[in-house]
Structure formats: structure tokens, C-alpha cells
């Protein structure tokens, strides 16, 4: 799901955001009093941060004071702010980074560092059209450089421009094989249904390594890929490796929870998810926790978690945030499907990717329009994705319109990767297969 941070800053005073999240957290903590509230993982800084020591920000600010017209100095400061955002989880650094990049671009609209920084930030805030524009500008400024392709590829994939994205990712791998490029190659392979290839590329990313947090991140992606093709043991190994890199890494805890669900251990799954959301209350994991509680027959706890998610979404929406595919799926499964359809169309317009198509299709199916739902499911599968979630959505829609051969095929694919699905989806899937 997503509420873009940019819109939050544009429309909401920090007080509103703070109040919103405070409210959500109060709800979380009521049901999980034992879990300590801890800030985001103190990441091991990059080599540059480590080399420069803690007072790098001050030194960069002094550098700007010494050369107030130097666009590159502002870009370097913005990069340092982005690094701080990664380390602390404080989005205030995003706003500061945005201002620094803007100041750099005002001084030199072609400054490479400022273009790359602003493009990276735009993608982080899910403004993919701005990301694309800035990535293109950076690429034009320095055609021999690899990094503009990172900004370009991320934007192109989310905007559904896969032909262009393939070229960008290939150029990126050709120019600079490493964690960032291998991980993107893996994602592209996954989208086009090459799961073995996706795993192989992600293993290269893991081996190449980087900062602790990026290693943990690609280990989790590897685990998710393994789960999606039914290899629960391999998935568990990857999540554990992520936890070895960054203790209590929330996404890895959630991954282990999903592996536990796949093994039928709902209690163990719930415990891990509670730890994960106490560490970082990601909406995805709160939703999964709700589903797990409900499946375990703990209805009160499940409904309470759903209320937390609703509160989080409502408050962030009130703060002007823009939803994404995950918000659509939540509304379709746990809210009002007709509203999910409206939301889905909005999401599709801003990010016309296969993921957005899948979400809109599922909203239509849930709203009682499976024929339309199937049409969108086909768009979601147009690259050949074997994503269990996409296949589950397509299979249910196909079954509802009586396309039984197609339904059987998609549901079979989905059931292989059931570990990647929520208990709710698995239950529906099993009912559909009976």
C-alpha cells in the first residue's frame, strides 16, 4: 500500500501527520502492550558515511556556506539527508532532502547529483512521472553513467513501460553489475514469469552485498521469491540470513511469519508479526496480522487489527496521501468493494503497472463484476507473471465467469505459491478448488 510521503508534506502540517500516526500507534500498542516501541533499525551507514564520521552533515553545511552557488554541494547535502532518512526512518529528512535538491537545481538545472537525488526522491515518494523526467534528464547529462538507469528503470516499471524498462535494466547490468542492478534484473525476470532466473539473479545480488540494510533487503526479496514458488525451507533460510544482517528486521520477521503460516503455525506467525509491527507498523504486516488472527479464530484481536489498519489509512488519506495497489486490495478484501473500484481506477491512472491492473481487477471481481475483473487480470498477466496473488485473483474471476480450464490453471499456480498468500486468500483458494 502507499500513501506518498510527498503528498503528506504538501497537504498536511506535521502536526496532523503526527496526530494520525500517534492515534494508529496507540491502537497498536493497546493490543500489544508487551512489545517495546523502538525506532527504525539503526542501519550500518554506507562506506562514505562511515568514512566521514558522524559530523558529515555539519561539514556539508559548512561547505555550502563557503560556496553558496555550488549546486553539487546542495546535492551532496541532499544525499546525506536521504541517508539519514534511511538510518532514522524520519521523513523530515525527505522534506529537507527535497529542499536541498531543489536548491541545487535552481543553481544549476543540469547538475547531475541534484538530478539523480531529486529523481530518487520522486520515486521514493511514488511520483513516478517526475522520477522518469528527472532520470531522463540525468541520463542526457551523463550518458556513460549507470545510476540514471536506476532512477529510470524504477519509474518505467511502475509506470508500466516494460519495453523501456527492459532496456534500462539491461544497460544498468551491462554498465555496473552489482547488488542494485542484479536485484532489478531479478524483479524484471519475476514479472515476466522467469522465477528460477529471478532467484538466480537475486542470489547474485545477495553475494555482491552492500550495506547491512541493503543485504537484509535483498535477502527478504529472495525469501519472497522462494515462497512464491513453494520452497518454504529456502525462503526461511533467506529470512534468517536477513535477520543475521539486521537484527529484528521487520520485513524479515514478517517473512518468517508467512513461512510459519505456510507450515500451518498460525500462533508462531502471529507472534512474529506482532514483533514486526512493534518494530515498524507497516500496513502490509498489520493487515497480515489481522488475517492471521482471524484465521486462528481470535476474532476480537483480528477485528481490532483491522481497525488499526483502517485508522491508519483513513488518517493518512485525510492528510492528503495517495493510495496504491495495496490500498485497493485492502479495500476490496476488508472494506467496500465498490469503493475499491473507484480507488483502483485512480491508482491505475497514476501508476499503470501490472500490479495496479491486478488490484483493479480484483476490486471489480469482488464488486460482483468478474467479467471486467478477468479483463484486468489478463492485463496483469500480460508479461507472463506467475505471482501467486495475480494468479489467485485471475483464477477466481475466471471461475466466476465459467472459464473453468483457465480457472483451474491459474488456481493451480496460485496454490503452489500459497506461502506468499494471506490465510484469507488461501481459504478462498481452497474453497474454489473444491
Amino acid at each position: 500500500m502507499t500513501y506518498s510521503a510527498r503528498t503528506i508534506f504538501r497537504f498536511a502540517t506535521p502536526l496532523v501527520v503526527f496526530g494520525a500516526v500517534l492515534a494508529a500507534l496507540t491502537l497498536v500498542n493497546r493490543f500489544d502492550a508487551a512489545a517495546p516501541v523502538v525506532p527504525a533499525p539503526a542501519a550500518v551507514g554506507g562506506a562514505v558515511a562511515d568514512r566521514a564520521g558522524g559530523d558529515r552533515l555539519q561539514e556539508l553545511q559548512r561547505a555550502i556556506a563557503a560556496r553558496p552557488d555550488d549546486a553539487a554541494a546542495y546535492a551532496a547535502l541532499g544525499e546525506a539527508f536521504l541517508q539519514r532518512a534511511r538510518e532514522t526512518g524520519d521523513p523530515g529528512w525527505y522534506a529537507r532532502a527535497g529542499r536541498a535538491f531543489a536548491a541545487g537545481l535552481r543553481r544549476d538545472p543540469r547538475d547531475l547529483g541534484a538530478l539523480l537525488g531529486a529523481g530518487t526522491l520522486a520515486n521514493l515518494r511514488h511520483d513516478f512521472r517526475a522520477g522518469l523526467r528527472l532520470g531522463e534528464a540525468a541520463h542526457r547529462a551523463e550518458p556513460a553513467l549507470a545510476r540514471p538507469y536506476v532512477v529510470l528503470a524504477d519509474a518505467q516499471i511502475e509506470l508500466g513501460r516494460y519495453r523501456a524498462a527492459l532496456v534500462s535494466v539491461q544497460r544498468l547490468v551491462d554498465l555496473k553489475p552489482g547488488l542494485a542492478s542484479y536485484a532489478r534484473a531479478s524483479y524484471f525476470r519475476e514479472l515476466s514469469g522467469d522465477r528460477a532466473g529471478a532467484v538466480a539473479a537475486m542470489r547474485l545480488a545477495v553475494s555482491a552485498g552492500g550495506t547491512a540494510e541493503s543485504v537484509a533487503y535483498v535477502q527478504v526479496l529472495l525469501g519472497d521469491l522462494e515462497l512464491g514458488r513453494g520452497r518454504v525451507g529456502a525462503a526461511r533460510d533467506a529470512y534468517r540470513a536477513a535477520l543475521a544482517a539486521v537484527p529484528d528486521y521487520p520485513q524479515a520477521l514478517a517473512g518468517l511469519a508467512r513461512a510459519a503460516v505456510a507450515g500451518g503455525d498460525l500462533r508462531g506467525a502471529a507472534a512474529r508479526l506482532r514483533r514486526s509491527v512493534a518494530r515498524l507498523p507497516l500496513t502490509t504486516n498489520l493487515t497480515l496480522l489481522a488475517d492471521v488472527e482471524l484465521a486462528a479464530g481470535r476474532h476480537a484481536a483480528g477485528l481490532a487489527q483491522l481497525a488499526v489498519v483502517r485508522a491508519q489509512r483513513r488518517l493518512l488519506a485525510a492528510a492528503g496521501a495517495v493510495p496504491d495497489a495495496e490500498a485497493v486490495l485492502f479495500e476490496a478484501d476488508h472494506g467496500r468493494p465498490t469503493r475499491a473500484v473507484t480507488l483502483g481506477r485512480r491508482v491505475w491512472r497514476s501508476a499503470p503497472s501490472v500490479r495496479s491492473a491486478d488490484a483493479l481487477g480484483w476490486a471489480l471481481t469482488r464488486a460482483g463484476r468478474p467479467l471486467d475483473g478477468l479483463r484486468w487480470a489478463h492485463r496483469a498477466l500480460r508479461l507472463g507473471s506467475l505471482d501467486p496473488l495475480f494468479r489467485y485473483h485471475a483464477g477466481i474471476a475466471a471461475q466466476a465467469v465459467g472459464a473453468s480450464a483457465e480457472a483451474a490453471r491459474d488456481l493451480r499456480i496460485a496454490v503452489t505459491g500459497r506461502g506468499a498468500l494471506s490465510p484469507l486468500a488461501v481459504r478462498r483458494l481452497e474453497e474454489a478448488l473444491r
Binding site: 500517534l22 562511515d50 532496456v167
Partner: protein
């Protein structure tokens, strides 16, 4: 009240975390291009006092090893290839290369512990993670545009000295070091493993627009950002006959085979991203598809002289620099050396009258070699290539001067580079115009490494252990001003 405030602060911290996490939950791979496992940081080439007939090379990789951060990340990538390259006629193409490839094995795959307490040696089952390497010698024969490569594996399964976790895990760390020093049958000596980072610089001051803490940086008081930080070293001691162009030992500094150039590099594999969906079917095949198949190796970093990549090569050209071979340096990057941005910056900051144009003196000192010292013999108008050039016939100095050649000590940088050479001060002074008579006593205020180097192989100081580490703490004591070139 106080307690409540603390509680609120904790909630605020987590609240903040929520919004960032929520704002970035779409599927995204890390954007960082930081690639420490392929990052070559510093190269040293010198004649060691205890090994006068050999070239000693130290190649360092994987920067930022804060010993306290745990041992798991400071590892050579098993899927990359690491090189020490030798160019002996001086044309910028490698003629001999030593390739290192690594294999990591984990004894107990269910444990993420690097080692159990009391691990005593490579065969001790308490050592859970073991990395070994093979070393291959490659020789290149160039015929026109074709190159013929011969490969010979010199050894396999040699142990990498592990990160120094602490005295409880490794009560006798030196045993691992001793076990990692290996003598090969051709007289080559090799060590691979963690060491203290021998580089020393006040990075904050240097990269903060040369904001030296006490002008002009020649009176100490600099803060060494690398003190207490570790690095992964490959140390090679090669008999002269293994690196000279005629395969013979060097008779003296004037011998025709006396000068060799050295650079280090790293390669990773490319791959075919995939096109199962056939979405590029009707499109002209992309150039990359034609220019190299899946699995082709791509050079992702290289290094010869210190700080060339950091200071000379502009941001937009760094990837290209890392991909290309030194033989194209003059054509691709010559202009950045001839008209160095750093000279302009120094003038803007300190008004020291550094020449800003036509800096052939820098090209010669760093890239062509100094005539009758480390310029390759028998090559007319020596090409400008970023290799570390050393005259093997120059005997090691009895007492080393940290300013090397500009301090009158011809056995030091830029004639090769010793571990103690103060390359930051030297390069600042050279860019300020030392070789053109503009002698400005610039420096970063750090004069030496925080640890003493060893008098015998592998020369680089032992790494700090994770248990008692204190990174970035050493401050150079204040001292009377030192003149340009140490005068």
C-alpha cells in the same frame, strides 16, 4: 514528567518511522550504488627492506570496516574476480595479472555465528565461516588488436584470514595470520585477509572544500578518519623475474627492465535480464545483446594512483573510468588532469597561486613517470596511464620520508607507494604547483597511520578487534610547521 517526555519521544520516533515506511512500501530494490565488496580503495607497491629482490604489492578492498559492526559483511564476493595487474612496457595494458577468486563455506548452515568462542585455527570446527581462494597467474600477449591470454592456477584452497572478532572468539588471532601467509612454488609469497586500513586522512577536512583544521595543514591536529578502521588486503610479494618485461631480475635503477606499472581491479558477471514476455521482439536488438553474451565479465572498479578516481575524475565519468583500461586514460580523461578542478578550488579558497592550466607536471608525475626514475624505458613519449609505476632497482630508503620524491626520498611515492607515504599531503602540494616551483606547505594535518607497520610480510598492521575498537579517534599531535616537501 520527565518519564512522560521520554515515552512521548519514543512514540514520536516510531511515528516518524511509520510515515517513511508507508511512503516506500512499493516494490523497490535498493538504489544505492555503494558496492564495498568490489571497491578497491588503495594500492601500494614498494621494495621491502627484507625482500630486496621482489616487488611487494598491497591491494586493499572493502572500505568502511568498523570492527564493531560484526564480521559478516567484510568478505570478498565469491562471485566476483579480484586482480593485481602488472604493465611492464608501460603502454597501460596489463601483461601479467594475478587473479583471486573466493569460495565461502559454512560448517553449520543453521548458525549465523561466524565462529564459536575459542576458535584456534582454520581446521578448528569452531570456525563456522571459512573463506578460501584460488590464485591464477595470467599472461597477455598482444598482436595488433588481438590478445592471447594464458592462465595458470598457482594454488587453490588457500585460507583468507578472518575478521578479528575479539579475544574471546579468537584467543590467538595471530595463528590465523600466520596460517594465511603462504609461499608458492615460484617464490611468490601471498597473504589475503583483514588488516588495519593503512590509509590516513582527515577526510572531513579534505572533502569539506579542503577545510583544513589549522592552516595550512602542516602543523598536525588533523583527525584521522581511518584510524581504528579495518580493510581487506591482498598482499603479494613477487620475485622481480615474475613481473619484469624480460623475465629477469633487475640489475639496478638504470636497467631497461627496472620499471613496472601496477593497478588493481575487480570484475563482476553481467547477465541477460530476460525477455520471456517477448516485449522487445519487434525492436532492434539492443546493442548490449550483441556486444556480449550472458556471463561476460565486466570490470567494475580499478585503481592505480591514490585519489585519482576521487579527486580527478568527475562524477559523470566515474563509471566509465572504472570500466576502462589504463591504456585509454590519456584520451578519455587527460583533460581533467591537465586542468584539475582541485587547483581552481585551492586558489579560490587560499589564493595560493596554483597554476590551473596545462598541468603537464602532474601528468608526468602521476601518469607518465618521472624521467630517469620511474618512467618506463624504451618507450618514446610515454603514454599517460594511471598505473602505479615503480623502479625496482631503487633500493629501499634507510629512513623513509613521508613526502617521498618531493621530500628527496626517491624510494617513495610517486615512485611506487609505501604504506607510510603521505599521499594526501603530497598530492595537495603537487596540485598546488610544487613541481613548478610554487611550494606551498599544504596538508590535511594527519602525518601518519595510527598503527606502526610491520617490518616483515605482510607489512600491513594487524586489524583492530571488534572487542576493543575505537574508530576515527586518533588526532595528530600539534607540531611546529613543516615546510613544503618536508623541508
Amino acid at each position: 514528567m520527565r518519564k512522560l517526555l521520554i515515552a512521548l519521544a519514543a512514540v514520536a520516533a516510531a511515528a516518524i518511522a511509520v510515515t517513511v515506511a508507508v511512503g516506500s512500501s512499493h516494490r523497490e530494490a535498493p538504489g544505492t550504488m555503494l558496492d564495498p565488496s568490489a571497491d578497491d580503495t588503495d594500492l601500494y607497491a614498494f621494495t621491502a627492506k627484507d625482500a630486496p629482490g621482489s616487488l611487494t604489492v598491497v591491494g586493499n578492498w572493502i572500505p568502511g570496516q568498523n570492527p564493531a559492526n560484526g564480521p559478516n559483511f567484510f568478505r570478498f564476493d565469491d562471485r566476483a574476480r579480484y586482480y593485481i595487474n602488472v604493465d611492464n612496457p608501460g603502454d597501460g595494458r596489463r601483461d601479467i595479472a594475478y587473479r583471486f577468486q573466493f569460495t565461502t563455506s559454512v560448517r553449520n548452515p543453521n548458525s549465523f555465528l561466524y565462529a564459536l568462542p575459542g576458535a584456534s585455527g582454520y581446521d578448528d570446527p569452531k570456525l563456522n565461516v571459512r573463506q578460501t581462494y584460488s590464485i591464477t597467474r595470467l599472461t597477455y600477449a598482444y598482436r595488433g588488436r588481438r590478445v592471447h591470454v594464458r592462465e595458470r592456477v598457482l594454488a587453490r584452497g588457500l585460507p583468507v584470514a578472518p575478521p578479528n572478532i575479539g579475544p574471546k572468539t579468537f584467543p590467538n588471532y595471530q595463528a590465523f595470520v600466520n596460517g594465511a601467509v603462504r609461499n608458492l612454488s615460484d617464490g611468490t609469497k601471498v597473504f589475503v585477509g583483514q588488516r588495519d586500513d593503512p590509509f590516513f586522512v582527515d577526510l572531513g577536512a579534505t572533502f569539506d572544500a579542503i577545510n583544513v583544521r589549522r592552516l595550512t595543514g602542516n602543523q598536525g591536529e588533523g583527525k584521522d578518519d581511518f584510524s581504528g578502521m579495518n580493510i581487506s588486503s591482498i598482499v603479494l610479494q613477487l620475485p622481480e623475474r615474475r613481473v619484469t618485461k624480460d623475465g629477469k631480475a633487475v640489475a639496478g635503477p638504470d636497467a631497461a627492465n627496472a620499471v613496472v606499472g601496477v593497478y588493481q581491479s575487480t570484475e563482476r558477471r553481467r547477465l541477460e535480464v530476460s525477455d520471456r514476455a517477448g516485449i522487445a521482439k519487434h525492436r532492434k536488438r539492443h546493442r548490449s545483446h550483441a556486444s556480449g553474451g550472458a556471463g561476460r565479465w565486466v570490470q567494475v572498479s580499478r585503481l592505480g594512483n591514490p585519489l585519482v578516481n576521487e579527486v580527478v575524475i568527475p562524477l559523470g565519468k566515474k563509471d566509465q573510468f572504472n570500466r576502462t583500461s589504463p591504456d585509454r586514460d590519456a584520451a578519455l580523461y587527460g583533460t581533467y588532469v591537465l586542468k584539475p578542478e582541485l587547483a581552481a578550488v585551492l586558489n579560490a579558497l587560499f589564493r595560493i597561486g596554483a597554476p590551473e592550466d596545462n598541468r603537464t607536471d602532474i601528468v608526468q608525475a602521476l601518469l607518465q613517470g618521472i624521467p630517469r626514475l620511474n618512467q618506463h624505458a624504451g618507450i618514446r613519449g610515454p603514454p599517460a596511464v594511471d598505473t602505479l609505476k615503480i623502479n625496482l632497482g631503487v633500493p629501499p630508503a634507510a629512513t623513509e620520508n613521508r613526502f617521498g620524491v618531493i621530500g628527496g626520498d626517491v624510494a617513495g611515492f610517486p615512485n611506487g607507494r609505501r604504506l607510510g607515504d603521505d599521499v594526501v599531503d603530497i598530492e595537495l602540494q603537487v596540485v598546488a604547483g610544487f613541481l613548478k616551483g610554487n611550494r606551498v606547505p599544504l596538508g590535511d594535518g594527519v602525518d601518519r597511520n595510527d598503527k606502526d607497520f610491520l617490518s616483515s610480510f605482510p607489512y600491513v598492521a594487524a586489524p583492530d578487534s571488534g572487542f576493543d575498537s575505537a574508530p576515527s579517534r586518533r588526532v595528530e599531535p600539534s607540531h611546529p610547521p613543516v615546510g613544503a616537501g618536508g623541508s
